[in-house]
């Protein structure tokens, strides 16, 4: 995928660009908002990665202008500020996701992946499918190989998020933010317990596991070829 990276710190820029390239992306880099604005309006990117605080035209203002100019490309804001208002402001300025520095490389890659494959907003899905696992969104009904699986409300939300991002890595923070609206890291690892309960219902007793742990990163739901 072709990505645009706006970052003024040379060392961070090189590192992030290298990480994304290693993950199979093509990355255009720039160090100020004006360049980012020019590149975003003249090229077609899958995801924009914008550092919020750069000299001159800052990332947030550049993004506002891009949106005003009709650029609808998903945007991920990088920031060193972790205030609630800052994130709200970022999202209101047209950002689709928000990542606080410092971040792990895997976190960035996972979020870029999630943004790039975000389906066009109007698409109305009624059923999610991964292998023989089916999630009927209207009836809130989950079946695997035709057998009904009883899930609690939170397990259902967790599964829905995983299935909406099937094949992609979903990190712990992404789950905390999207399933529980926790925009911070609790000291206790909450996800593991939820995930093991979900797995015991979705995977146990079936031939192949669908939910996979990605070491050091997070989880992925995927029907791997046997």
């Amino acid at each position: 995928m072709k990505l645009l990276l706006l970052e003024d710190d040379a060392s961070t820029r090189t590192h992030v660009a290298r990480t994304l390239t290693a993950a199979g992306h093509v990355v255009d880099v720039c160090a100020n908002g004006e360049d980012a604005l020019f590149l975003a309006t003249t090229n077609s990117y899958a995801v924009l990665i914008l550092d919020r605080m750069v000299p001159g035209l800052d990332g947030l203002s550049a993004l506002k202008r891009m949106r005003a100019a009709g650029v609808a490309t998903p945007a991920l804001l990088l920031t060193a500020i972790d205030g609630v208002n800052d994130r709200v402001e970022g999202l209101e300025s047209g950002a689709d996701d928000y990542l606080v520095k410092p971040f792990a490389a895997t976190e960035l890659i996972a979020r870029v992946g999630a943004l790039a494959r975000r389906p066009p907003s109007v698409e109305a899905l009624t059923t999610l499918r991964v292998g023989d696992l089916e999630f009927d969104l209207l009836k809130r009904n989950v079946t695997r190989a035709g057998r009904r699986i009883e899930l609690q409300a939170q397990e259902m939300k967790l599964l829905e998020y995983l299935m909406r991002h099937k094949g992609e890595i979903v990190t712990r923070t992404m789950l905390l933010e999207n399933v529980w609206s926790f925009h911070f890291d609790p000291q206790t690892n909450l996800i593991e317990s939820h995930m093991s309960r979900l797995r015991s219902k979705v995977d146990r007793g079936f031939g192949t596991a669908l939910i996979h742990t990605v070491r050091g990163s997070g989880y992925r739901i995927e029907a791997l070829p046997a």
């Binding site: 709200v88 409300a153 939170q154 911070f184 609790p186 000291q187 206790t188 593991e192």
Partner: protein
């Protein structure tokens, strides 16, 4: 700081301004008084000339010109101070009486120059007399004149007095202004000295009262109150940086040790394990920074503008359900008592963080098998959230200290954490103006959050 001179001082300039205004006022007053004196003098002259003429004419119809002439003569002789001069001409224009020059010989109002030869000191100075000529029935002419000299003199004296007193008062005002300016500057110099000492680092120094007037003292007191506030903030900041320096030393030292151990290690497995451990250590340091930054932002009031109505029932339930599996896996009994439909003005995300911190604490500082309870209820007008455990609790004398940054109970020194959880809880509670109560749960700790008012 630039030096001030008394001539430049506010008091001097003020005095200068007042003196100028006073002088201007005096001139206006002078002009007004002068005009009214003038008008009065005109009127008085007219009235007195008419009256004198009428008095003389009383005797005329019976006695004729001779009688009139005889009436004028003694009046002229009467006294030097006598205000009237006369001229009586017969029908042929011959002078019968009076000393006025012939130039005054016409009927009606007029003016004529006249030098009184009987008054030595004024002999040299002819004065202007006002005249009233009356044509008699037989063609004779009676002219009566009077001087306006006394009025002129009054006007001159008044003007001289006004100008002299204006100058005197102006000078006095300037001298006073200069003197007050000097005193004022001396006092200000003391204040400026205090300010200079504060700027060079003596933060305990306070401004002296300026004196002179209550408003200046009020200013001094306000500035001192501001300095007190700044000083308190600085102390907080200094404490924070000391705390940070102190408490980051532990994880940084561990990180250093790991890296040194890695340098000495040989196998790739050891390297990999070392890198993992070092990254975990760095994550711990980041977590401390994040928490500190959050606390700083919240205490700085950054979030204050974003309070909105929060559904506490939903929030507490969400946090509880997020923790239930983990708590059960960790061998704690988890119980809930949530009243429905309770709201409070707040920031949902910060309140969620507050609750997770409390539950994190309960999980970390209690042994297996104990009960942890979350409750939300209405108590009178207030809404109360309570998180309680049946663990070791916090001794009463330490309950205040645990709310400060980096404070850790001896019992928990060896469990993970940096001692920031409850400090963040306290900051968030303060932002919501909610009362934070640490109570004895007999056994264990009960943390209650009392929101000011249910909506």
């Amino acid at each position: 700081m630039s030096r001030l001179s008394s001539f430049n001082s506010g008091a001097f300039r003020f005095a200068l301004l007042i003196a100028g205004l006073f002088a201007l006022g005096s001139l206006v007053l002078l002009a007004v008084v002068d005009r009214s004196i003038e008008a009065y003098a005109q009127e008085a002259t007219v009235v007195s000339l008419k009256a004198e003429t009428a008095t003389l004419m009383q005797d005329w119809p019976e006695g004729g010109l001779a009688e009139l002439r005889d009436a004028i003569a003694p009046r002229e002789q009467l006294a030097i101070e006598q205000p009237f001069q006369y001229l009586l001409l017969d029908a042929h224009g011959r002078r019968l009486a009076g000393r006025l020059p012939m130039a005054a010989a016409h009927s009606g109002w007029g003016a004529v120059a006249f030098a009184d030869d009987r008054e030595r000191e004024t002999a040299a100075r002819p004065e202007i007399l006002r005249t009233l000529g009356t044509r008699l029935a037989d063609g004779a002419l009676l002219v009566v004149a009077t001087d306006t000299f006394d009025v002129q003199k009054l006007r001159h004296r008044l003007a001289a007095f006004t100008i002299a007193s204006s100058i005197a008062l102006t000078l006095l005002a300037l001298i006073g202004g200069y003197a007050i300016g000097l005193v004022f500057l001396q006092r200000l110099a003391r204040v400026n000295g205090a300010v200079a000492r504060i700027m060079t680092g003596d933060l305990a120094e306070r401004l002296p009262t300026i004196g002179m007037s209550p408003e200046f003292d009020h200013l001094s007191r306000n500035l001192n109150a501001m300095l007190d506030r700044i000083s308190a903030l600085m102390d907080g900041l200094r404490q924070l940086s000391t705390d940070i320096a102190h408490d980051l030393r532990t994880p940084l030292t561990r990180l250093q040790q790991r890296l040194e151990a890695m340098r000495a290690s040989a196998s790739p497995e050891e390297y990999e394990a070392g890198i993992e451990a070092a990254l975990a250590q760095i994550e711990e340091i980041h977590a401390i920074f994040r928490a500190l930054l959050r606390i700083g932002l919240i205490e700085g009031g950054e979030q204050a503008r974003k309070l909105e109505t929060v559904d506490l029932s939903e929030l507490v339930a969400r946090v509880a359900e997020a923790y239930r599996p983990t708590a059960e896996d960790a061998g704690r009994r988890f119980s809930l008592a949530i009243a429905e439909g309770l709201h409070a003005a707040g920031d949902a995300e910060l309140l969620a963080q507050l609750l997770t911190n409390l539950v994190d604490n309960a999980l970390q500082h209690t042994p297996q098998g104990v009960a942890i309870a979350m409750a939300l209820r209405r108590e009178g007008a207030r809404v109360v959230i309570a998180v309680s455990d049946e663990g070791g609790g916090i001794p009463p004398d330490q309950r205040g200290k645990v709310l400060t940054r980096f404070y850790r109970l001896d019992a928990s020194r060896h469990s993970p954490g940096a001692g920031l959880g409850l400090a963040l809880v306290a900051a968030i509670a303060a932002l919501h103006r909610a009362e934070l109560v640490l109570a004895d749960n007999r056994p264990g700790l009960r943390v209650e959050l009392h929101f000011p008012q249910a909506e």
